[in-house]
Symmetry: C2
Subunit: 359 residues, 2 copies
């Protein structure tokens, strides 16, 4: 039976990448070493790291005045690193509140400065993203932070805020690499790897160079972006194997036509699900139409008492990890880049069959 | 040709572990998923994590009142996390200075409190470790920090300091799991994984529970040990694949007789090298006899002009990564648990042949 894994992260990886990792596991390119065994300062791994960065720069179109950092600690570490590095003497920063991950970023930022919540969608249970005309921006803010895709709520923003000269900061953990985006509009982008990039344990940061170098007092050396920018992410031992796997994912993206091709496929996959959700009363999408995520599709059964039976049938069909996040309930299908369209079709077929037998 | 990799870290891993990782790469135990693809909150990975912790507790004999944390960020992050968490209202801490890694720990700790250097071996180029009668301990210190094995200098301490009621903290990155040690004598032990534990990107912390919960103001949530202790290292997504691989290494250790058996083999391996270094004038060990590391064996050629030719012959024989650290020069053979005795024999044979042809 073919297994389709709808986990929100760590999540499905391209099968071709896993097969290459497997083939190269014990002896990478005749080196006699696994990538796991290589010194991060040896020529083999230095080459792997340089190629990963070059491929990512190409795929995302990252301008030359941005540093690409391969870090550890997840987006949760960025919740502190962003204010510690980007407040730069200012009293506070602007944050948009669109859900669980926004809230965590806001809570952590309050340790280091004042937080001005420019707008919040908590009034409607985080089911939409406020448009910019609803935002109350502070012209003195050090930066503006938002979460273009809320992994838990499945709320995605398909427009880029205009914050003028105030740097825009985005937690792109669950949307990065899913479609083209204009990096030059951002001061800083960060993302945990375990959705569209690679294995957990790697965190990607893309930061405009002029924002580096003024961390707040008491910032750990490892939490100072400049430490890593000045050392090509090799100040200390980086998560080498995760970087190698991410590099293979970047090559996989290139071979498939890059982010424009990804967006096309992702829109096709998400469309299959949303079209079906719109055509039935048995299931419902809680998210405002204009903010329906391409990556994370939460949905509910009209009768929550059927949830367990639904998950049981899904599992029997090899459709895994569909249970919604504990904070919202219902179901959630995460359909990242590596989820093949066949997986989404299998899910819709199963949903239809379940509706027929329980509707 | 058999390759032997003497890298100081990331370093050689047990071949059997690599082969198992390879075999399970695409489909772990019939789950249809790679471990890389598993949700960290799913039952499969929760089982892997729990087993890894249980095996480590068994192998090291970790008492029940100690938490085992699987973190990220390397020992370099611990250099800040230790003072941020363990100062607990005290003005400062005691540090022993035995080399490059001690110095880094000291430098970072000064950001958060006063550092009293109890003793230093800098007077003799960090070639030995001062005995405790030479230490000037501060009875009011929050803790005493030392580095039982300096990876760069190859200086190891085979005795445990007695610090009375002041918690003892050790950076065991390059000595952990190489021989039995009494965890109950320590307040906190930390270690980057990339020597004796597993792949880079995982950091192990073993901490006595009563030391948790009073971080200094401004400590990032991710740098508060209690965050991770209260959430079984699952506050956010942990480095799942590195934890899985480390778990296989712990099982490998158990199958080979645990740490007592490791020490026996490690003494045999190091003995082969040191015995030869003692028997020749062509090479020399810079380290005091009582502090010769079992894990990292630096040595010099009497004529440094021959270094390149030495490394060339080594490479021809499949003996890799023998160049000494850029800060000290010469050669260094790191011979962690996973280095087979055959690798050390091959190195000594090559050294002898090189001496014959160049001596």
């Amino acid at each position: 039976m073919t297994i389709y894994n709808f986990s929100a992260g760590p999540a499905v990886l391209p099968k071709d990448v896993l097969l290459q990792v497997q083939a190269e596991m014990v002896d990478w390119h005749g080196s006699g070493m696994s990538v796991m065994e290589m010194s991060h300062r040896g020529k083999e791994f230095m080459g792997i790291a340089a190629e990963a960065e070059a491929d990512l720069r190409e795929v995302m179109g990252i301008p030359a005045n941005y540093k690409v950092l391969f870090l550890q600690g997840g987006a949760s570490s960025q919740f502190a690193m962003v204010p510690m590095n980007l407040l730069r003497g200012k009293a506070g920063a602007d944050y948009l509140n669109t859900g669980e991950w926004s809230k965590k970023a806001i809570k952590e930022a309050k340790k280091y400065g004042a937080v001005n919540v420019v707008a919040s969608s908590e009034d409607r249970n985080f089911s939409y993203a406020p448009t910019q005309d609803q935002w109350k921006l502070d012209p003195n803010a050090a930066y503006v932070h938002y979460t273009p895709n809320e992994t838990i709520g499945g709320v995605e923003m398909f427009w880029t805020p205009d914050t003028g000269s105030v740097p825009l900061v985005a937690d792109m953990s669950s949307t990065i690499l899913s479609r083209p985006m204009d990096v030059s509009k951002y001061g800083l982008i960060y993302a945990g790897a375990q959705k569209n990039i690679g294995p957990a344990g790697l965190t990607l940061v893309i930061v405009r160079e002029d924002l580096l170098g003024e961390p707040v007092k008491g910032t750990p050396t490892m939490f100072d972006y400049k430490t890593h920018a000045d050392n090509e992410s090799m100040y200390n031992t980086p998560p080498t194997f995760a970087m190698y796997t991410a590099g293979l994912v970047f090559k996989w993206l290139k071979a498939r036509g890059g982010l424009a091709a990804m967006e096309k496929t992702n829109r096709e996959k998400a469309g299959l699900l949303y079209d079906y959700l719109d055509a039935t009363d048995f299931y419902a999408s809680p998210v405002a139409r204009e903010n329906r995520s391409l990556m994370n599709v939460p949905f509910t059964l009209k009768d929550a008492a059927l949830d367990e039976a639904f998950l049981k049938l899904a599992k029997e069909r090899g459709l895994l990890q569909l249970k919604g996040h504990r904070s919202v309930g219902g179901m959630r299908a995460s359909i990242y880049n590596a989820m093949p369209v066949e997986g989404v079709r299998a899910l819709v077929d199963m949903m239809r069959d379940f509706e027929k037998s329980h509707g």
